[in-house]
């Protein structure tokens, strides 16, 4: 009895050791990424490519990919030799824990810069890893103010943070004649930030916030909060969130017989909103940073090229990802180096003219840009109204 227990124990312990060594062996076998020619420059892109916001993630990837394809077509030479850019696209599943893993993965793969991540919740933890590795990170869509407040010289973004847009929207709501405003916020960091700034500036302009309602980014039924808003006789509803919610919300507003102005931010200024809300989209207002795509140099071409190359329509952030990538590449060209140490100072002082507007960064890495454009949905299209400072 004792003997067999002893042997069993030996066997158990050795089984453990064996498993471990197999793993060691396996990890030893897995070789590092195959050597590539020195003229291949790897640039990372991270966004959620699976999970419930994968459509936005893929959009970012396509935007970045298009910029890479164009750069390669231009046959760029850096430091005297022609270079070939390669996009390394990773999926962070919108999970903060995964984001640091894929960030490290990109660093290991030897990328010289990163366009990403999509969500603020993944961008912030990852920024630490890029900072430690000393490579540039440009987020096309993270709007959380904390991201650039960490003192990392490697962190940039090409999208206005929530403060700028919220301020313009708050003023504009009052300009539309709203006195009693209802705010709906989707409890994402984007929604919260934008809603708070909107509220502040609308109040400052003299409007009254009658209620602040909340939903979340997985819901499609807003009838309860809309009914509540109806009882408050609001004359404008501001929705701080994304198109996938804004579309059905618009329909429900009309079905409940609510006759108010509907205003939303750049998360709702998409084609998807127009298709989801259908004929009920008529008369909705939305804003978007920068000039309208069609008015920007190269904007129309970008849209056409995107549709043609990927056979998809632009969701939201593809132009920003495209600009982020182009900004990164032009900093490398300007510095005539792919070494982050050399091109980072150039990137900090860059002046690039992208499809979403001029790209230049302030001391923190936030984009310097004054303009926000406003649009109205008319007959299934976004019509540009005006561009405000």
């Amino acid at each position: 009895m004792k003997r067999s227990a002893g042997i069993k124990k030996v066997l158990e312990v050795f089984k453990g050791a064996l498993i471990l060594f197999t793993f060691l062996g396996l990890s030893g076998c897995g070789s590092q990424d195959s050597e590539v020619g020195s003229n291949v420059v790897k640039i990372g892109q991270v966004s959620p490519l699976t999970g419930s916001i994968a459509h936005l993630g893929k959009d970012n990837e396509y935007g970045a990919r298009l910029a890479i394809m164009e750069a390669n077509a231009r046959k760029i030479s850096i430091a005297g030799s022609p270079v070939q850019f390669e996009l390394v696209s990773e999926d962070d599943e919108a999970k903060p824990a995964k984001s640091t893993i894929v960030a490290q993965k990109l660093v290991d793969a030897g990328v010289v810069g990163v366009v990403g991540h999509l969500n603020s919740g993944t961008t912030i933890p990852a920024s630490k890893i890029y900072f430690d590795a000393g490579i540039a990170q440009i987020s096309p869509s993270a709007t959380n103010v904390n991201y650039t407040n960490q003192g990392y010289k490697t962190a940039f973004r090409v999208i206005a943070n929530d403060a700028q847009q919220g301020r313009v929207l708050g003023n504009y709501a009052v300009k539309l004649g709203a006195k009693k405003i209802a705010v709906i916020d989707d409890r994402t960091d984007y929604g919260k930030g934008l809603a708070e700034e909107f509220e502040k500036s609308a109040k400052a302009s003299g409007a009254d916030i009658v209620t602040h309602e909340f939903t979340d980014n997985t819901k499609t039924d807003f009838t309860a909060i809309l009914t509540r808003i109806k009882s408050m006789n609001a004359d404008l509803i501001f929705f701080s969130g994304m198109d996938a919610q804004a579309g059905p919300m618009m329909k429900q507003i009309k079905n409940l017989g609510i006759k108010t102005i509907f205003l939303t931010g750049d998360g709702g200024k998409t084609l998807q909103f127009l298709t989801l809300a259908g004929s009920e989209a008529e008369g909705a207002y939305a804003s978007s940073p920068g000039e309208p795509l069609d008015k920007m140099p190269g904007g129309k071409e970008f849209k056409a090229k995107y549709n043609e190359t990927f056979n998809e329509t632009i969701q939201i952030y593809a132009p920003y990802a495209y600009d982020a990538m182009n900004t990164l590449i032009s900093a490398m060209i300007e510095a005539d180096s792919i070494d982050p140490k050399v091109y980072l100072p150039k990137l900090a002082n860059i002046e690039y003219s992208g499809v979403t507007g001029p790209v230049a960064f302030d001391a923190k890495g936030d984009i310097k840009r004054g303009t926000i454009s406003l649009y109205k949905a008319v007959e299934g299209e976004w019509v540009h109204l005006e561009t405000l400072e």
Binding site: K9, V13, I19, G30, Q32, P96, A97, Q104, K105, G121
Partner: protein, 361 residues
């Protein structure tokens, strides 16, 4: 009677005893060496990413061991376990970050996180004592969601958690001026932050394993098993089922609390997105897939499920190229499809888990 104990017999007995002891010790030493060397080998061959992946596997290991106490030992199905992880993470974040200007050292926060999470465990356990099976499952699920919703909304009217924005710049574990998340050089060897955390987490996981094994064979452990097998009979045998169940919730929760604190300090950032229901379900999968009730099985299950998605990430494109000639499906969706398939196939082949506990059957 000397001739009965012949020389031959004595020597064989001697060799048996010595060799058996030796063998066990050699085994332990081999394991220890392998565990210490592992990150060096991993980092130099397949990259630092994998050290980080190992770190997360270790954190999940602690989580899974904690859940195993509740689900595996005591048989109480908990679908909101991630709430305790969240409580631990936010405890650390609030006590060691610029949020309230508090910067307590780790040896103060770890016990606090332990106690706070344990308290939340009791808080969950108390109203659910009468519930069984799947009713308990849905209440725990609801509890997990309630905690997450509160974390997501406690920025108003009083700002505690920053809401969806999360808490940033959380202090890492540090001794003196040595910051554990920064790369250090000791005796010419370079230790990255992930590498140092690997040792910290490994140590804690080993302690957790030890605690779990001791618990399993203790009076309390037997009481849990008794409740799992037949609650009424257990009660009849004089077990105070209320206290024993609450202890299971509290102990399980406190493991989660410590793991959460370490997660917060390692990442330096927490936000409610890390604590969604899907994470609870993932941890449950680790426990069940590995072998519910068996500590080693749970650890195995954790490592497989924490590492598998990352392996699939690397192979889902090359796999297609080799088999089909080109990349047909996008690698990301294929990865998740393969992951789902793996869960199904493993459970079909081994319904009791990969390394089930022997007592169960």
């Amino acid at each position: 009677m000397k001739e009965l104990l012949t020389d031959h017999k004595i020597s064989s007995l001697k060799t048996y005893f010595t060799s058996y002891r030796h063998a066990v010790w050699i085994g332990y030493v081999m394991i220890a060496v392998a565990l210490i060397v592992l990150p060096f080998l991993v980092e130099s061959t397949i990259g630092r990413t994998w050290v980080r992946i190992l770190d997360f596997a270790l954190i999940y290991g602690m989580l899974a061991l904690g859940l195993n106490i509740v689900v595996g030992f005591a048989g109480l199905l908990d679908l909101g376990y991630i709430a305790f992880y969240a409580v631990g993470a936010y405890t650390w974040a609030l006590l060691a970050s610029p949020q309230f200007g508090l910067h307590l050292p780790f040896w103060v926060i770890i016990p606090i996180g332990f106690v706070v999470a344990g308290f939340f465990g009791v808080l969950l356990g108390a109203p659910t004592l009468r519930l069984r099976g799947d009713y308990l499952a849905i209440v725990t699920l609801g509890f997990g969601e309630i905690i997450r919703i509160f974390l997501n909304n406690l920025d108003h009217p009083v700002n505690v958690t920053n809401g969806p924005v999360g808490i940033n710049l959380i202090d890492p574990i540090s001794i003196g001026s040595v910051d554990f998340t920064k790369t250090q050089e000791i005796f010419g060897l370079i230790f990255s932050g992930a590498h140092i955390y690997y040792y910290v987490l490994l140590l804690l996981l080993l302690v957790s394993i030890l605690v779990c094994i001791r618990l399993e064979n203790s009076r309390l452990g037997r009481a849990w098993v008794a409740i799992r097998e037949d609650e009424i009979a257990a009660q009849a045998m004089g077990i105070n089922t209320r206290n024993v169940k609450l202890l299971a919730f509290a102990m399980g929760a406190s493991f989660g609390g410590i793991a959460g604190g370490l997660f917060a300090s390692f990442q330096g950032f927490v936000s409610p997105e890390s604590f969604i229901l899907l994470e609870s379900i993932m941890v449950l999968c680790m426990v069940v897939l590995g072998g519910m009730g068996n500590v080693w099985g749970v650890v195995l299950g954790t490592f497989i499920l924490a590492i598998l998605p990352e392996v699939l990430r690397d192979i889902s494109s090359p796999l297609q190229e080799n088999i089909l000639g080109k990349v047909w499906l996008d690698p990301e969706s294929l990865r998740m499809v393969l992951f789902g398939l793996a869960l199904i196939v493993v459970m079909l082949v081994r319904p009791t888990g990969l390394w089930p506990s022997k007592k169960n059957n």
